[in-house]
Symmetry: C2
Subunit: 214 residues, 2 copies
């Protein structure tokens, strides 16, 4: 499976460590295009309305990127929604890692956190991952799953983004059995006790967040 | 109405500007107790399991605070849930401003963002406010509301924390009329066009976020 890195406009000081060789394709989202180039990473697809860039910055992006998709400034989609859609059209099976999408404005963070609810992304929610310096977020539809521990993370959280039915947490420090969760709830600060944890549920959507303190 | 400031353990560099005279009572939550004292603010109620504090730090908090509530380390409530409950028992009508509750770990941020869903807090959700350097979050149950602009903020977002019925946004740059919102959605980057915006909805819960870029 190929891997796509999508870089939104958040502060690069919040990025996780990026191993360029891990990714097959690099997408810049608005100001994220500049952040990619400043980090000496390739810019293959540039998406955005680019209203946060100066004319010089915009020309630099335009001359450097392989492909540019210019969005109108007033539109229903956010730049990140549009970029994810364009990336999925090109690489429908790829893992999509989104960085620069957290920190700062919480309305933006929530728009990014909730991307997998959109009908066009729900079918590929397992391919979407949001990452920053302290957090790695993956999405799950009803089913039964194994969650491998990420080596640099300490904590494990099951964040029920909706009401959830019949949640069972296994192979972790804190356990739950057939719990119905009536409203959005963050079961935070759980911990791995072995190389992988396990969970299952019957209805709703869950974001599993692995995190560390700093 | 009296005002209570609750300070959780997040980095004080993310705090909003605090005017001490605005608050009638100061609550420290775990490491937030130290942050309050380091900022030369009073510490009247200290709540937490304090497992993040050294013995010396713990003694300092213990000797300085008016009241200390020691929570067990392994408990169902988070320290913030417990602190909010204790503050509401003392000041049932007060406005509760929670700081130090965002930034860093997203599982913690979500646990704090979703506090008003809990049955014990739902009845007072209009009294709860989450604030940091860039964001101010208030909560709304179904009804019709006016939202006064906060002078230091630029953006206005309607974050539907649940499916929402019949959402109408008025007196703002972007409008909606009788919109049903089928899943959690952040209507971000709206703007005030006068001193207050207005909105109404019939079912669900909405967080209104006023924010600025830096």
């Amino acid at each position: 499976m190929s891997r796509v890195l999508l870089v939104a406009g958040g502060n690069p000081s919040d990025w996780p460590t990026i191993e360029p060789a891990t990714y097959d394709y690099f997408v810049g989202i608005d100001r994220g295009c500049l952040h990619l180039l400043e980090a000496d990473l390739p810019l293959q697809l540039a998406v955005g309305d680019f209203d946060s860039l100066s004319r010089e910055e915009y020309h630099f992006v335009q001359e450097t990127t392989e492909t540019l998709i210019q969005a109108p400034a007033e539109k229903d989609d956010t730049d990140t929604q549009l970029a994810l859609q364009e990336a999925l059209q090109r690489f429908p099976q790829a893992e999509m890692t989104i960085i620069g999408a957290t920190g700062g404005r919480i309305d933006h963070l929530l728009a990014n956190l909730w991307l997998p609810f959109e009908p066009r992304f729900q079918g590929v929610l397992r391919q979407i991952r949001l990452c920053d310096r302290q957090n790695s977020i993956q999405y799950y539809a009803p089913g039964s799953y194994i969650v491998p521990k990420e080596p640099d993370k300490e904590y494990l959280a099951y964040c029920c983004l909706t009401p959830v039915e019949n949640l069972t947490l296994r192979r972790s420090k804190y356990l739950l059995t057939n719990q119905d969760v009536p409203y959005p709830t963050s079961y935070a600060s759980n911990e791995f006790i072995e190389e992988a944890a396990a969970f299952s549920f019957d209805a709703g959507m869950i974001a599993v967040i692995q995190s560390k303190d700093k």
